[in-house]
């Protein structure tokens, strides 16, 4: 127990070393969380937008017909 306490004291510099490591971890994790949040939010919006577009396409070309080439265009 004494050895753990002594280690955590960091030779009397605990007040500088642990905040430095903690702050680094916080910024690194925050960057990952925000990047993943941006990606997931964007992908959800994109899925919604694409879902609203699909029926319009489906109306133009019925599923049993060959979509290409489109002679009407």
């Amino acid at each position: 127990m004494d050895r753990i306490y002594e280690y955590l004291q960091m030779g009397g510099h605990a007040a500088f070393i642990w905040p430095a490591l903690g702050l680094t971890a916080t910024v690194l994790i925050l960057m990952l969380v925000l990047s993943l949040h941006d990606l997931r939010t964007g992908e959800a919006v994109l899925r919604r937008l694409e879902a609203t577009r699909t029926p319009r396409r489906a109306r133009r070309s019925p599923p049993d017909s060959h979509p290409e080439p489109n002679y009407e265009a």
């Binding site: 009397g12 680094t24 910024v27 690194l28 993943l36 994109l46 937008l49």
Partner: protein
């Protein structure tokens, strides 16, 4: 160059990033576990700096990545301005917040290291001031690239800022040689034998590799997020013009 052009295709890039991401993420976790073990437990205290030397294992790799990230941003900006690659603007825009994060770590950990070693949290010497300017350049890039309704105009203005600001990168690197600074000169150099004990060099290099793998992971994630938001904008514009 022709091979590089192939990856400027966003769809091809997405496929490539999906293949790389699991590897870069796994490598990041593995390198952080091994690096932190050596940095916190299996390395000695410095004979002068004592245990505070452990701050070096996050401070120095953050500084390297902060400058690497700016170089990536400047190269992407040059590519965007010269060749108008669709992915180059996106890369620069994705890199800026990551660079700002790493620079914030450099400044904060440097301050926490400076107080017990130099007796001050901050000093306006060449190295510290030029890193602070780097932080402001990142913030300026983030603000400028989002300041216009038309993202293309914002990207072009931000690209010019990134290129002009690149002059700061060699200033940061050589500031400790060109001016008398409180900051110590480089201990790890490719041209000379490192002035650092192997017992400390090992955790430093392991943490540098961990930070690099993490940077690659974050950059790929942010580029994918930017590509998604470009697709959303294109779809919204197409829908608005169809209505």
């Amino acid at each position: 160059m022709a091979n590089l052009h192939r990856f400027a295709n966003p769809n091809r890039f997405l496929r490539l990033s999906r293949a790389i991401l699991p590897w870069s993420a796994s490598l990041t976790v593995l390198l952080f576990i091994v690096g932190l073990y050596f940095a916190l437990f299996a390395s000695p205290a410095d004979y002068q700096q004592g245990e505070t030397v452990r701050i070096m294992y996050v401070h120095v790799p953050s500084a390297w990545i902060a400058m690497l990230c700016y170089s990536v941003m400047a190269a992407a900006s040059a590519t965007a301005l010269i060749w108008r690659h669709p992915l180059a603007d996106i890369t620069a825009r994705a890199a800026a917040p990551i660079g700002a994060g790493f620079t914030l770590i450099v400044l904060a950990t440097g301050s926490l290291w400076g107080k017990p070693m130099w007796g001050t949290w901050w000093v306006w010497d060449a190295r510290l001031t030029s890193v602070l300017i780097l932080f402001f350049l990142y913030l300026g890039h983030i603000a400028l690239s989002r300041a216009f309704d038309d993202p293309t105009r914002g990207a072009r203005a931000a690209a010019v800022l990134a290129l002009v600001g690149f002059v700061n990168v060699p200033i940061i690197k050589f500031s400790v040689d060109w001016w008398n600074t409180l900051h110590q000169p480089a201990s790890v150099s490719r041209l000379a034998a490192p002035a650092i004990d192997p017992a400390m060099l090992r955790p430093l290099l392991l943490m540098a590799l961990a930070f690099t793998a993490y940077f690659v992971t974050l950059l790929l994630l942010r580029i994918r997020a930017e590509l998604t938001s470009r697709k959303i904008r294109a779809l919204q514009l197409a829908q608005a013009s169809a209505e």
